[in-house]
């Protein structure tokens, strides 16, 4: 009888466990069929923890969705051909259709994407027409002036809203462009304009940093050259080499950037992808440059922002992540895009990985060669250079909660932030940042023991230590009276025993 009872209770327990497993995914996460769970984070041990999607791919935008009149007056819808750059200003998307030598402006009215115009020609001050040759990137100012890197024509164009040329930046008269022996061709790729109207250009095969042009279009200086990295062993070897051998060696040169973006505070973000596979943790592939060109990106996460920490040779996609673009958010979070495995990595203002998603593939939400990432509000637009389309990602409930929690944290409203983190934990019990966020709020509410538990769970040493210090102090203050009492009792006890012994001894001696 007892056995049967035992079995019955076991069965019940199993049933509860099973139903628990199946009922756990809350309706909010898997509300629609389109949702996938290919997002993940890395935990404190550097292991992949899968996560609900923070962004969900909703749409492809391709070039043939938009009809424009061509030179003969016919209406045609052309696909993009190897587009390299895009820029989003307001609800307008500007795509550099590099292979078709045009720029396509698309407007989003909240429901649909509509082609506004295609830009192929500009009028210069003499009234002559200029055309584009492989436009690589575009930046659009708030009053819709456009700065276009005209890669094939070796120049940067600054034009107004109606395509009238304001200024043209051509090959600057500095090294290595004016080198008498080995003059480099000026091939501008990515560019931005800062709030003061200076233009920063990243040009191909230039490792001196970004080229800065002033408001008149004159070259002023190189900015933010990547510091040279020495290899100690190679450096020592050089002492034993002849001149010719040294010349044959690869030179210690700074690496070149491959993209540039600007954040809401006016700081430049740059990415670079040329580094040794084994150096991926120290290479700092994404950097935030201040006005003097030094890297001020905060890297307080468990691991530096470098994309994937672990990988295997999956279908030939091997090696560390290689970042090719970065987009920044108003709360100093940023997303980078990786061409090795076609993934998007989102980091918060402290450099913690928020989530990673994407991949190489041919479904919605996967890429072949992502070249640019931008955002419209909270939606992400990823341009694929080989599929020649834009994938639109929209923020899910999970992602929204994370953003809210981060925002409250930055506003120093830790309790409110903890509420959102608790909601995040409801959707993803493996989300390390949420535990630390909740712990932080508990710490501020003087609930030290609970806070310690949360910090210990995710091995946040610094915060745990802070909570523990307070907890220890509290415990000592609470029990110091007991300690003193115990001490007095012991001392009095010893004194009494000694006294008794003495009397005993005296009594014995008397006998």
């Amino acid at each position: 009888m007892r056995k049967i009872k035992k079995f019955g209770s076991l069965l019940a327990a199993t049933a509860i466990a099973v139903s628990g497993i199946f009922s756990f995914p809350s309706a909010a996460v898997y509300a629609d069929d389109a949702s996938t769970t290919y997002s993940y984070t890395y935990d404190i041990w550097g292991d992949v923890q899968s996560s609900p999607d923070a962004y969900r791919a909703t749409k492809h935008i391709s070039g043939d969705m938009f009809e424009f009149e061509d030179a003969e007056g016919k209406t045609v819808a052309k696909n993009f051909v190897e587009p390299q750059g895009q820029f989003i200003r307001g609800n307008h998307i500007f795509v550099c259709d590099t292979g078709n030598n045009r720029i396509v402006e698309i407007a989003y009215d909240g429901k649909e994407y509509k082609g506004v115009r295609q830009i192929t020609e500009f009028t210069d001050k003499n009234g002559e027409a200029l055309t584009l040759n492989k436009p690589y990137d575009i930046y659009v100012t708030e009053n819709y002036e456009m700065i276009i890197s005209d890669y094939g024509n070796e120049r940067v164009l600054h034009v107004d809203k109606d395509c009238n040329v304001i200024k043209i930046m051509t090959t600057p008269a500095v090294t290595p462009f004016n080198d008498p022996v080995d003059a480099r061709v000026f091939q501008p790729q990515k560019l931005i304009m800062d709030t003061a109207g200076r233009i920063y250009v990243q040009a191909e095969k230039i490792n001196k940093g970004l080229l800065e042009f002033d408001t008149r279009g004159e070259f002023t200086q190189y900015v933010g050259a990547s510091p040279v990295k020495f290899n100690m062993v190679d450096y020592i070897w050089r002492f034993f080499m002849t001149e010719k051998q040294i010349e044959a060696q690869p030179r210690f040169v700074p690496t070149e950037y491959n993209n540039v973006a600007i954040d809401s505070e006016g700081f430049m973000y740059v990415t670079m992808s040329v580094y040794d596979d084994n150096d991926f943790l120290t290479a700092n592939p994404v950097r935030r440059l201040n006005s003097t060109g030094s890297d001020i990106l905060v890297r307080n996460g468990n691991d530096p922002p470098c994309g994937d920490l672990k990988w295997d040779n999956a279908g030939g996609y091997n090696g560390p992540s290689r970042f090719y673009d970065v987009v920044t958010f108003d709360n100093n979070s940023y997303c980078t895009i990786d061409q090795t495995r076609g993934r998007i990595f989102a980091y918060d203002f402290q450099g913690n990985l928020l989530y990673a998603f994407g991949g190489i593939g041919n479904r919605l939400g996967y890429f072949r060669k992502p070249v640019a990432i931008d955002r419209m509000g909270d939606s992400l637009f990823v341009l694929d250079g080989q599929y020649s389309n834009i994938t639109v990602f929209e923020l899910t409930e999970f992602g929204t909660l994370i953003n809210k929690a981060l925002r409250e944290y930055q506003n120093a409203d830790y309790d409110k932030s903890a509420e959102y983190w608790n909601d995040v934990l409801r959707l993803n019990g493996n989300y390390d940042l949420a535990y630390i966020g909740v712990g932080r709020a508990l710490l501020r509410q003087d609930k030290f023991a609970e806070a310690m538990e949360y910090f210990k769970a995710k091995r946040d040493r610094r915060n745990y230590s802070k909570a523990f210090e307070q907890y220890r102090k509290e415990q000592i203050e609470d029990h110091i009276g007991d300690f003193v009492k115990a001490l007095i009792v012991i001392l009095v006890g010893i004194w009494l025993i000694k006294k008794v012994r003495k009397i005993q001894k005296e009594v014995r001696e008397c006998d």
């Binding site: 041990w45 210990k456 091995r459 040493r461 230590s465 802070k466």
Partner: protein
Amino acid sequence: MRLKKIKLSSFISKEWLSHFGKTLKYSLYVIFHPFDGFWDLTHEKRGSVGAANFLVFLFLMLNILKLQFTSFLVRNINLNRINMWVEIASVIAPILLWCVSNWSFTTLMDGKGRLKEVYMGTAYALTPMIIIGYPNMILSNFLTIEEITFYTFFDTLGMIWFVALVLAAMMMIHDYSLTKTVFSSILTIVGMAVIVFILVVFFSLISDGIAYFVSIYQEIQFRFY
């Protein structure tokens, strides 16, 4: 069937126990008087292999307990990735390797000590690490991140004490001068590396050999089956 009542004393005699206790207690004398202590340890038979085994066991237990009970502020260990056999081996193997390697070299270098004595000396030298280690492990749970220096200090103290004691032990057991002791210790460490290397070579050779016969067997099997 009548079961005999098993008494502890039928396995461990009272004399053995008192000898064991005495020799174990002697480790406390040794760590403060290393030169006298290690001389008498072997020459006056004031130490025992039983006590040495017990000391090694305590040291092993310390290293295992440390994995779980040291504060994560000091040692941040992912317990999911711990392999207990590897942890045990990583304590026992170096001690045994040291003893074997040391004995091998010192027999060629006029060392007076036998393998048993080398083992005893090494084990008794572990005493300060054990005595400091257990309280230190508990202490670590009462420290904040800034105070970890205390833990590190005591940990290092134990290590330095251990190394000094091992050197003293080798000096006394083999009747060496200090320079010869240091020289032989360095050789011993090199010898340990050589032994590990040979073991690895041996292991791969054997596994290759086995693989060879296995493949022959498979070939024959494929042909006739």
